[in-house]
Symmetry: C2
Subunit: 158 residues, 2 copies
DNA sequence: CAGTATCCGGTGCGATACTG
DNA sequence: CAGTATCGCACCGGATACTG
């Protein structure tokens, strides 16, 4: 999209902005990172993340309201019923966001010791990476191969 | 990674957290979105985004400090020299983060009118999407196909 | 264990105004 | 055009305490 084109449209109806409204607050994506790593319970999140419990309460509520996590009772044999937070399908699909942050961080802000986590294909064990491809199966593409064009929902400036 | 494994490691040396330290403040990714769409100048960012100019100043400085944007003088014929902000290579590689947010937002928070922007393969014109694949070329993978394992830089808890 | 409630100091952000 | 300065408030995170 050329500059003059961009200036013809507003920033309303932006999926990136809407995603960030939900996911962009501090701690939210870190909570989800731990959810992907397998954490489920309030105290586990609080302990591992080291964030304030009040903040955690708020973020978990938001995530449940947005149907990214679901709060479900569970029962450990021999103890009383508790609640846990599990990723929904909507939540699971956030993973590429974390993956993109992980890859960029690994590449540009790496720790000399190497990555703290390896993402592998379960089964074959090979490392996984994020790639951009087009519907005609060209790829992997870089940002220089792609073009952003106004779509059907673009709002022209008044 | 199973829960018990996760609890054996700290959250230090996390590339996701480091990326978010740089990119996670409000407005930062929206500034970069506009940079990808072609904006270059202070007042363009301020006008399109509608964020406070002080905030914009701060974010641009951070992004320049991090070598995500570079501030370069440029000269329009007939007017005096000005500065513009351009994405560096490090900056260009942030695009998958925005792409992931865009795809998730398109899928889960869509506007009834449709997406405001279409990302296409320049040249062939087909829509572009983000996919996860492994080094053995299995894919596209979903999050359920992948496994997160402690890497060489993982820090065991004391 | 799984939260909620409260207080408190710091900071991020929005709004506004000013400058070269 | 490209910022800087200032102000006020909301929110954020830390600490602590309380509840079922």
């Amino acid at each position: 999209m050329a500059l003059e084109d961009r200036l013809r449209y507003t920033t309303e109806n932006c999926s990136i902005a809407r995603s960030l409204d939900i996911l962009g607050e501090k701690w939210t994506l870190l909570i989800l990172r731990e959810a992907f790593y397998g954490l489920r319970r309030f105290d586990e999140f609080a302990r591992i993340l080291g964030c304030g419990r009040a903040v955690l309460t708020g973020r978990l509520h938001t995530l449940v309201d947005e149907a990214i996590l679901e709060r479900a009772p569970y029962q450990q044999p021999g103890s009383r019923s508790r609640f846990e937070y599990r990723l929904t399908d909507k939540g699971h699909e956030i993973f590429p966001v974390l993956m993109a942050l992980l890859e960029w961080g690994d590449r540009w802000t790496a720790d000399p010791a190497g990555p703290a986590v390896d993402i592998t294909h379960r089964g074959c064990g090979q490392p996984v990476s994020l790639t951009m491809t087009c519907a005609a199966d060209h790829g992997p593409l870089t940002v220089r191969d792609i073009e952003a064009k106004p779509g059907p929902g673009a709002r022209p400036t008044a």
